[in-house]
């Protein structure tokens, strides 16, 4: 940043519009503004700060508007105060203007007219001015508000950093100017992200859950496979047993003594099989019919509704004896259907009105009749369904009885065969019963196995869904883990480098401060070195190797502080001017001379607000080769205003 021009308009004692052109010469880069105490040096310094950062940033700014300008306006008129600063930065030219206005009231008092208004223009190569919509952001990017005091500083506070209690200020200055704040905030936010990812990760199921589910599904698949294998085995056993029974039946049929019994048994078994099938079909049909059993349940209610409607029909209310429209026509014409007229106050008219009240509209009458018909159909359907179910139930009872008879006969036949006088017949029948028992047992086992298989299938289906979901969660968890890892590594890298960077910077500042201090202080051989320890204590070590800061004179403290500030400006590589308000006021000629001899080489632009006493003799001679612009502030006691005069 290089300051080029400052224009003041009605700013404090600067009445009207006045301008200073700062030196732009790279060799003669010092601008000196002289003035006696109270002539307006500090006001101009404040104007510069206010223009760049505004009233909210610059403390204790006081009244800005020129009292002379306020005196000159009539009630109702406005007076405007503005400061305009032209500067360049990174080969771009800018003009920034901050203004505020006030209005004179009838009673003579001055009231603010508006808030601060700030405009910034960037001048492009063609000379055209482009608006910068966020001047504050532009200025903060060039010279942040929180570090401005290290570049635009008040000479009265110049020894701030050399005070014994200034440790925190030194530390803060390094923190802000050297941008450690950026590292600190980045570390803080990365750690916050770490915590957030960790929290999300806890809520997201990961590989552990997926593995557990996959284990479960494997177990279920084993159970399912075992059940299916056994089911197939049992089916084969049933087949085999039935085959053996058929063979026995064949053998029994071939034995003349029991052939008839066996044939009868086979017929009965065939009939029993048919009857069983018939029974199954009947049960299925009954189940289907009973799903519409609500018709039967609703039957009494329907009957009740129909009874109400019948009652109304009997009483002549539905349909009504007389049509509503017909009665209305008679009342309108006042003539009876027999042709006899009647009066509106007569008894005929009243009778017709009563009739009209009892009649119902045609549309409602139709709806009632429709409902009545629907109810009748509904009732008929319900009755039919009930008789059908009754019929099916009766059929089922009949079939059941038939089966019972057939089973009883089968038992008799078995007993006869079992008790046959022939040993081989008895043996065959015994074996047959044995196989029959096996089949029955296997059928029960099959039923149980079917249940197991169905349950396993259902469980596998459920687990498959869960695994699909868990795989998605696992992918999410992996992604979150990667993000967590990056946030942790980023924060760790800052942790590792933060202290090292801070120490490097501190050591660089220490070396630079030492170098500058030794060049500025006149007792350079008395002081061995300047130290800036890990505790950020700015210390001066004397020739005896002892800490000598408490013994420093006021002037030496200022030199130490100035050395620190300029060292910091150099290490930070901020391209900012050094603007100093009365920097040498409390310095002896020795220090003034050494500072003026060295200061121009420490910065690319130096602007000094000085009293004549501060800059005379050797100090003046030292600066002379570097002065590119010089102004004098002439305060007029009669008007209370200052005029800027170019020297």
């Amino acid at each position: 940043m290089k300051l080029e021009r400052l224009t003041l308009e009605n700013f404090r004692q600067y009445y009207g519009r006045q301008r200073i052109e700062f030196s732009k010469d790279s060799k003669r880069h010092v601008t000196v503004i002289h003035g006696v105490n109270g002539s307006g040096k500090t006001s101009m310094f404040i104007a510069l700060n206010w223009c760049l950062y505004g009233k909210d940033v610059v403390e204790n700014i006081g009244n800005l508007i020129s009292k002379e300008a306020m005196q000159q306006i009539a009630p109702g008129e406005l007076v405007q105060t503005s400061v305009e600063l032209a500067f360049s930065h990174d080969e771009q030219k800018y003009i920034m203007r901050r203004s505020v206005a006030a209005v004179r009231q009838v009673d003579g008092t001055i009231e603010p007219y508006n808030n601060e208004e700030v405009i910034m223009k960037r001048i492009i190569a063609s000379g055209e001015a482009k608006d910068e919509l966020s001047p504050g952001t532009v200025i903060n990017a060039i010279l942040p508000a929180n570090v401005r005091t290290y570049f635009l500083f008040d000479g009265e506070k110049i020894d701030n950093f050399a005070r014994p209690e200034a440790v925190s200020e030194v530390k803060e200055a390094i923190y802000l100017v050297l941008r450690l704040e950026i590292l600190d905030r980045a570390r803080k936010h990365l750690k916050e992200m770490e915590r957030r990812y960790l929290k999300d990760l806890v809520q997201t199921s990961g590989d552990a859950e997926l593995n557990a589910l996959e284990q479960q599904i494997k177990q279920e698949e084993v159970v399912q496979k075992q059940a299916e294998t056994r089911y197939a085995e049992v089916q084969r056993e049933i087949e085999l047993a039935r085959q053996r029974m058929t063979e026995i039946d064949q053998e029994l049929r071939e034995k003349a003594v029991v052939s008839q019994l066996q044939q009868e048994r086979e017929q009965i078994e065939a009939s029993a099989k048919v009857a069983s099938k018939e029974q199954e079909n009947l049960i299925e049909e009954i189940q289907t019919k009973t799903t519409s059993a609500y018709m039967i349940v609703a039957s009494p209610i329907i009957a009740h509704a129909l009874a109400i409607l019948d009652d109304k029909r009997v009483k002549g209310q539905i349909p009504s004896n007389v049509r509503q429209q017909f009665v209305e026509d008679l009342l309108q014409r006042l003539v009876c259907i027999c042709g006899r007229p009647f009066a509106e106050d007569g008894s005929e008219y009243k009778s017709l009105l009563t009739l009209l009240e009892n009649s119902v509209p045609r549309s409602l009458e139709n709806e009632v009749l429709d409902t009545n018909n629907q109810l009748l159909v509904f009732q008929a359907n319900g009755d039919n369904r009930l008789s059908e179910i009754k019929r099916l139930m009766q059929q089922r009872v009949n079939v059941k009885e038939r089966i019972q008879i057939l089973e009883a006969r089968l038992s008799e036949l078995e007993l006869q065969l079992e008790g046959s006088p022939l040993e081989d017949v008895r043996q065959l029948e015994k074996k047959r019963q044995h196989f029959q028992a096996d089949v029955e047992s296997y059928i029960v086992e099959c039923s149980s196995l079917e249940g197991h298989i169905a349950k396993a299938n259902k469980q596998i289906e459920k687990l498959t869904k869960e695994i699909t979901q868990a795989r998605k969660s696992s992918d999410k968890a992996k992604h979150l883990s990667r993000k967590l890892e990056l946030a942790q590594q980023g924060a760790k890298a800052i942790d590792e480098k933060y202290q090292q960077t801070a120490d490097d910077m501190r050591l660089q500042i220490e070396a630079k401060t030492n170098e500058i201090f030794k060049s500025l202080v006149w007792k350079d051989s008395h002081f061995q070195r300047v130290g800036l320890g890990p505790d950020y204590n700015l210390e001066v070590i004397d020739r005896y190797g002892t800490a000598a800061r408490p013994e420093l004179s006021a002037g030496e403290r200022q030199v130490l502080s100035l050395s620190f500030i300029t060292a910091m400006a150099q290490v930070s590589e901020e391209q900012a001017p050094l603007v100093m308000d009365t920097p040498f006021g409390r310095l002896s000629s020795h220090h003034r001379n050494s500072i003026t001899a060295n200061l121009p080489s420490l910065t690319s632009q130096l602007i000094l607000f000085v009293t004549d006493e501060e800059l005379r003799d050797e100090a003046r001679q030292n600066l002379e080769p570097y002065i590119g612009a010089e102004y004098r502030l002439n305060f007029d006691d009669a008007t209370g205003c200052t005029a800027i005069e170019e020297c």
Partner: protein, 60 residues
């Protein structure tokens, strides 16, 4: 140290971390410059942007 050179202190780290930190430092710098470093709404925005940077770094 100049603000644009702050990221250089991480030059010994893996490229992904270098890139991540360069982007995060840039965001922090932008918010400090815009004087929004203490604004609570802006802090939420910063965290979202840091999340986006990390997300982007995951793809590298």
């Amino acid at each position: 140290m100049q603000k644009n050179r702050l990221a250089e202190i991480f030059k010994d780290y893996p490229p992904t971390i270098q890139h991540l930190l360069k982007e995060v430092l840039q965001i922090e710098q932008q918010y400090i410059t815009a004087n929004l470093n203490t604004n609570s709404g802006a802090l939420k925005e910063i965290r979202e942007k840091v999340d986006e940077i990390i997300e982007e770094s995951c793809k590298r």
